[in-house]
Symmetry: C2
Amino acid sequence: MISDLKIQQLRYVIMVVEEGSFHSAARRLHRTQPALSMAVRELEQRLGQNLFERGSKNRLTPFGEYCVPRFRDLVGQHDRMANDVINHADGTQGHVHIATVPSVASRIMPALLAEFIARFPDINISLHDENAHYVCQMVAQGEVDLGITSIWQTNEDLEYAHLFEDKIGVVCRRDHILASCETLGWQSLQGEKLIRNGTSRLLMSTAAAQLVENSAFYISNMISLIAMLEAGAGITTLPRLAFPETNANLCFVPLHDPEVVRRIGLVKTINRTLAPAAQAMQAFLLEKLRHGAE
Amino acid sequence: MISDLKIQQLRYVIMVVEEGSFHSAARRLHRTQPALSMAVRELEQRLGQNLFERGSKNRLTPFGEYCVPRFRDLVGQHDRMANDVINHADGTQGHVHIATVPSVASRIMPALLAEFIARFPDINISLHDENAHYVCQMVAQGEVDLGITSIWQTNEDLEYAHLFEDKIGVVCRRDHILASCETLGWQSLQGEKLIRNGTSRLLMSTAAAQLVENSAFYISNMISLIAMLEAGAGITTLPRLAFPETNANLCFVPLHDPEVVRRIGLVKTINRTLAPAAQAMQAFLLEKLRHGAE
DNA sequence: GCCACCTAATAATTAATACTTATCGTTTAA
DNA sequence: TTAAACGATAAGTATTAATTATTAGGTGGC
């Protein structure tokens, strides 16, 4: 097996053929004429056959006629591949998989991703919504590149970057007595029928822990939870982002004492390098969400 | 547009992936480990992204995972192309177009080409038979690579190499009075009904020219000519090779005075380089036919 | 026919690149 | 904890590719 042919040499030959002379080919390649002469001759010697007729005009030999289309093919394939790889390298092309908690997925991501795809039109995005724990798991297992989730437990394989905080409040019907309050302390909730949900654990290590512990109801499904609240079956606590703001029947009252926040952060694996498109997404998310109140 | 990626660098990357370590990849590539390290790093810098995870084990980055199959593709395409081109360069593969006069085509080429294709099984051959003049024309116009023909007129675009001589003789019915002669002089033919054919011009510049000039019949088609002779309609002159030796009714008597020979030679263009496969054929024909009496 | 002119080949030199040897710092496994 | 394996780095060398300057070979104009 012969040693590698150099793409550049093939390109030289093609250009000489296209231009019809070594001189003008050299000009277009920003080389001098002897550079082409020598490179072509070196290639010819390696192949053991001349590509160009020597002596008179620089026509191709029959062997050259055979080779040049093949050279063109390979150079074309190289260029397409190189272009493709470069686009992926600089993050203008690729596929990013993101997992987020549902509240972020529905309230924050739509506008954000619209802006992202406007800026990076050739990046494909897959967005999964899962609960906070499963978001971390998907990141850790490499099922997604990035996660946006509430940070609740450190994992040494994952790297967390804080984005913003999300205040916990009480959600109840608009006609509920608590609805008129500007802000609430946990004592005000005693005696209320509290329905727990997936975010209730955020209160566990606070002064309001007892409230949660005494609650008999647990509903994980947000749609069911909202329906229960609308029916006046009780109240619950939610991070503001998880509260459906457009709902006409329910209202959100911030919890003042204790002031509880859900810390939302960007999660990625610590070992694996992100694909360039994911790096672009990461930078975009940090730029747009870091330190923002929402 | 980025500068050319080097096939060799891509090969290095692929080998590191296959072997799982820089060390063993280097061993298989007959290089030292730092050579690979540096080459890979150079490529990574040009792409602007790492292909391998640095720090811990040498796994591929997601970007590397994306690239390596494409690198493999290009290297594979390169190798196939290089192989193909090399085979054509050394004449083990290709297509040769030959034109010969009919007598050579039917009497000499069959066995010769059988031997050739046994020696060069991957070379395709096209064989045309045409008259001597048109053989030269086909060569001159590049329709064929090589011609085997009688040399009768110099052409500055063509290069002739003598192969062998072909004696002219008289062809007549076995029951003809001349048939019993061992050899003949032109005087013996006077009074005979001579049928001219395409090869009769070979006698024009000899002592027998008058015979030909006085002949009233001309038949160019060999089948018709033979039929005429078999019918006893006259006699003709032919080079020995053009005489159908298996014919039971006709016989060939060498012409002694004048002794006329048809010079058969190999013809090719003087300007154009032969394709490697044609070079192989040329060498083969010269080896087999040069100086041979037949 | 001779002379300019255009082109490619060659020679000498320099720049760039690829590789080697030697060494160091980590990590892995005994 | 040490030895072994691995990769990164540094310094030096070899190889390759490019430059400039020059030569040589045709071609066309006069």
